[in-house]
Symmetry: C2
């Protein structure tokens, strides 16, 4: 088996947002797709380590916004490289609210889809949410990015770093710390601790 | 709601193949993705009208091959515009067999993934299969196509046609016949009868 064949599957990249009471939050996912047209339903797959995951488990609602080719690496750092448990990701970010009251980015996404969860499937490290599409709007004419486009055009080339930590060999995500937890899963590309190497 | 926002979701395109006894078959899908890395599992979503769907329901095994940029429209016609109930799609087609005995195309795909079904979820018009990845191989360096790439570069521009039938406004699939069944769903893009118009 050649595990690298898995990278030939084509994905988009999305900002997934949720709202629990006064708390807004969001994360990056690469797993969202329409599964039936009538009724109009989508699935999203979310890593359980994401705070947004827990919010959706509780509130059953979300927006998924399609990242476009005008996005820069800052968007991925903002939503992907920090946790809503520690920071308010919306405090210094330009956003609007959809009919469901949940945020979506004003820039760098070409549309959003609002989902109302029908069912959850426990997949171990991730949960799959099946949802009715309750709203959808186009925000720009820019093309949606693919995961391949992100790797070629958005992700910075690796730089020499002095920090102590571990780097994901797959996507370049950096975990800062002496020891990488054995059950750590990359929040960007979902690969496990075995795909990380110490920063030299 | 702007339904067109659903097209901003990024998809790949795949040849999905199955084998039931001596019968080989395949169809085109745009819905396959990895959902967890450990264990390595994928989901595929398949229209119930596809013969390949029924074969996988029975045998619980499949290959999903990633269509690449060297593919031409003939591949889509071959696997997408005719049914394995009527023709032997593999009779005049170059293929090999994976370890599971199931076929995969020799050309126009850059790799394949073999799946063994763990569970099925009934989504109405479609079934979602969750599967363990049992094998995966890379076949070429060509880039995987996106659904957007297919529309821009592979799908022929509409031609004047004399046939009686209905054309899918979304993807250009042609249904030949006087009457389009009310419950018809486009085998390529999954859109319903309401998205077809009579050929003039």
């Amino acid at each position: 088996m050649n595990q690298a064949a898995m990278f030939k599957l084509t994905y988009g990249l999305f900002v997934l947002t949720a709202k629990d009471g006064e708390k807004d939050n969001g994360c990056i996912i690469n797993t969202a797709m329409q599964v039936t047209a009538e009724p109009n339903r989508i699935i999203i797959v979310v890593n359980k380590q994401n705070y947004t995951h827990d919010m959706i488990m509780k509130t059953k609602e979300f927006n998924v916004s399609m990242i476009d080719t005008e996005a820069d690496f800052e968007l991925f750092k903002h939503f992907g490289f920090q946790s809503g448990r520690d920071v308010d990701k919306m405090a210094d970010f330009a956003f609007s609210r959809a009919a469901n009251g949940i945020t979506y980015p004003d820039n760098m996404v070409n549309g959003y889809i609002s989902g109302k969860v029908i069912s959850e499937t426990d997949l171990g490290s991730h949960t799959m949410f099946l949802a009715d599409v309750t709203d959808a709007e186009i925000l720009s004419d820019a093309e949606s990015v693919t995961y391949t486009y992100y790797h070629k055009n958005i992700k910075p080339a690796p730089q020499p770093v002095k920090k102590k930590g571990w780097i994901c060999k797959i996507c370049g995500y950096v975990y800062e710390g002496e020891e990488l937890p054995a059950d750590f899963i990359c929040p960007i590309c979902k690969h496990p601790a075995s795909d990380f190497e110490p920063i030299q």
